[in-house]
């Protein structure tokens, strides 16, 4: 039974990997990697890494692949599809890298077959009850590997902040609005000082945003209860905060 499951898992894993390398469509590539990960989880289960199999399915096949799908959908299929078809000097380089990969595989198998490890030809050490369960993993993570655990959490924080900084929209809507607010505050000398006039400046800024630029700029700043009336409800939440 274990042998059957191993061959199902192994063949599925390798087929998924071949699909990732050869398929042209990025969507199909990502789905192929999902298949690869699911079959790999079967192999993990056979090796009694239960928690890792679950984490693999939930974290990789769930979260990370959804992220990939979102980015593929955002970037657009025609962009990503078109880039792989044209080949300036691709053929010879592709052949060279395939030869390099074959050499790597041969080297790995030489290392595998010529190893002095006697445990490789066994089914592994006798099963300890509880091996690979969440309790076992958690116990190890919070005692012997506490430092690695903390560093990994910090690394995740850094990566999240880095991704936000990298993918931020520069010169977008938010910064334009901020700039306009600064321009509105520069008109402050028209009515300086009191709270009422500050509110009227806000009302003027709101009217400035709402109306056409040329007509509003020509007028003097509106008094507190003059043309500011239709926009009264807009500055009131910020005015209350002041």
């Amino acid at each position: 039974m274990a042998a059957v499951l191993f061959f199902i898992g192994g063949i599925g894993t390798i087929a998924g990997a071949i699909g990732v390398v050869t398929l042209r469509d990025p969507f199909l590539t990502v789905l192929s990697l999902v298949v690869h990960l699911l079959f790999l989880a079967v192999l993990f289960l056979l090796l009694r890494a239960e928690f890792l199999a679950a984490a693999q399915v939930v974290v990789y096949a769930g979260a990370v692949m959804v992220l990939y799908i979102f980015v593929v959908a955002y970037v657009g299929e025609e962009v990503t599809l078109g880039s792989d078809t044209r080949a300036p000097l691709g053929a010879s380089l592709r052949l060279a890298s395939t030869v390099f990969g074959a050499l790597l595989l041969i080297e790995l198998f030489i290392a595998l077959l010529g190893t002095g490890l006697r445990g490789i030809d066994t089914k592994g050490s006798p099963y300890i009850p509880g091996f690979g369960t969440p309790g076992f993993i958690g116990n190890l993570l919070l005692t012997r590997f506490l430092l690695a655990f903390e560093i990994a959490s910090f690394l995740l924080l850094i990566a999240a902040v880095g991704a936000v900084v990298l993918a931020r929209r520069r010169g977008g809507i938010a910064e334009e609005a901020e700039e306009e607010l600064v321009l509105a505050q520069r008109r402050r000398p028209l009515g300086t000082g009191t709270t009422a006039e500050a509110v009227s400046t806000l009302a003027f800024a709101a009217a400035h945003q709402r109306h056409d630029h040329g007509t509003v700029e020509a007028q003097p700043p509106p008094p507190v209860d003059g043309p500011g009336d239709p926009v009264d409800e807009e500055p009131s939440p910020t005015g209350g905060g002041w």
Binding site: A3, F6, T13, I14, A17, V20, V21, P26, V30, L33, H36, L37, L40, L43, L46, L47, R48, A49, F51, L52, Y60, V64, Y68, V71, V72, Y74, V75, V79, T80, D84, P88, L93, R94, S97, T98, F100, G101, L105, L108, L112, L117, G119, I120, D121, K123, F131, G132, L140, R144, A148, A152, L155, L156, I158, A159, A160, G162, V164, V165, L166
Partner: protein, 99 residues
């Protein structure tokens, strides 16, 4: 099955990932192939952990999964940034860092 079979599968996955990293030109697919290489390493770690009856390999694999998630995060952020600047999404044409 013997542990050696798992190691053979892990070697094949690693090699396929390496070939994918070298041949594909779409950075998204390059990232996916990097994930596959890390998965090959994970499978070997877990196989050795089973062979020795020791949980350390599984902890190592969890840390590798974490690092892979970080790498995906940064990589996809870079792909989105490349797309926003309307540069070509092709690792052969993004040669501005060339010396």
């Amino acid at each position: 099955m013997n542990i050696g079979w798992y190691l053979a599968v892990s070697a094949i996955i690693f090699t396929l990932g390496a070939v994918g990293v070298m041949t594909r030109r779409n950075p998204l697919v390059v990232l996916l192939c990097l994930e596959m290489m890390l998965n090959g390493g994970n499978l070997a770690l877990i196989a050795f952990s089973r062979m020795l009856g020791n949980g350390d390999g599984q902890i190592f694999a969890i840390i590798v999964i974490t690092v892979a998630a970080c790498e995906v995060c940064i990589g996809l952020g870079m792909v989105v940034a490349i797309f926003r600047r309307s540069l070509p999404i092709d690792v052969d044409e993004l040669t501005e860092l060339q010396g």
